[in-house]
């Protein structure tokens, strides 16, 4: 392939247009969740700049909600960081699936792309890569446009939160209710239900024994391990390395 600079820049431009055109459903989803996160974080005592900084540096919805919930309960930095790590380990799986389609891309572009891998951008980019006619310009655009809307949404929520009185209309319960909704969406089959029940019981037991908030990581890693063992015992033909 011989490409002249003009053609390359034209291709990049087309890629960016295609990326923007594809990203809008993700952005539409991020704005209300971002607003909700901003309000809840403000109620938990964070200032707008702290909310924006978290969205910029971490850029991971569930982990941000969990971190705010832990911080408002007085958790220390080490247990918040360790829990964030475990919550976001799932991106390892997503990044591995995307890597198959991104051979030959320059390292620094891959490193930039890695920053924007979320549940939603992953699902969108992977399906487009599978369809073909999708490249790094499109994928990077999807990631960064959705990142922009996430940061803007959470910041707007952080400022709006100052006008919402504390404790109004069950707002203290917004976060637990959101976790219930997210949990139900994850129950995609029997082993997910078994793992969730196991994790809940272990966590209550550990919460009464272990100091601080380490019960969250301990219970979830152990329960996920239990879930793997149970599903393997049930169907020995499944997987098998």
């Amino acid at each position: 392939m011989k490409h002249q600079p003009v053609e390359t820049s034209h291709r990049v431009k087309t890629g960016i247009y295609q990326g923007v055109a594809a990203a809008w459903p993700v952005c539409l989803g991020y704005v209300p969740i971002g607003l909700a996160f901003g309000v809840i974080a403000q109620k938990a005592g964070l200032q707008p700049w702290q909310i924006g900084l978290m969205s910029l540096v971490v850029f991971a919805g569930s982990a941000q909600f969990i971190a705010v919930s832990m911080l408002s309960g007085g958790a220390g930095a080490v247990s918040v960081i360790l829990t964030t790590f475990v919550v976001n380990l799932r991106h390892f799986l997503m990044s591995s699936s995307l890597a198959i389609y991104m051979g030959g891309t320059r390292k620094w572009l891959l490193s930039l792309f890695a920053y924007g891998i979320t549940d939603e951008s992953f699902a969108l980019n992977l399906s487009r890569f599978k369809q073909g006619n999708w490249g790094i310009a499109q994928a990077l655009t999807v990631n960064h446009v959705s990142n922009f809307f996430w940061i803007a949404g959470t910041l707007a929520g952080g400022f709006a939160g100052e006008f919402i009185p504390d404790g109004v209309f069950g707002i203290d319960y917004a976060l637990p209710a959101m976790f219930i909704g997210l949990l139900v969406m994850q129950l995609k089959g029997r082993r997910y239900i078994i793992t969730a029940i196991l994790a809940g019981i272990l966590a209550v037991l550990f919460a009464m024994i272990l100091p601080g908030n380490f019960y969250i990581i301990a219970a979830s890693m152990l329960a996920a391990f239990g879930g793997v063992l149970i599903s393997r015992r049930r169907k020995p033909e499944h997987g098998g390395e």
Binding site: T84, L93, F169, G170, A177, M185, A207, M221
Partner: protein
Amino acid sequence: MNELDYIWLILGMGLVTYIPRWLPLAVLAGRRLPGWLVEWLDLIPVAILASLLLPLMVVSDTTGKADPLRPEFLAGIITLVFALKVKSLSGTVIVGMLVYWLISSLI
């Protein structure tokens, strides 16, 4: 937590979030992961949410003991039933807030 500690916290969270996003793209380059690891990683989100939620609802902040009659837990059961029936995230949040507000103003 003071402002400097907060910045360190965010940098730590950012680093541990970035590494699993970056490593497979930069190093593995399309190599397949072992089956058990894929399954384990797949079960992590549901396990985290459950182990975050149940103690939040059942374990009392003051005594540190399990108490199934807390308004958090009672509201949680109703919210869970709603979420299972109507699979809507925003609907679940609104119903949860409403139910919790009603229960805690009754008790």
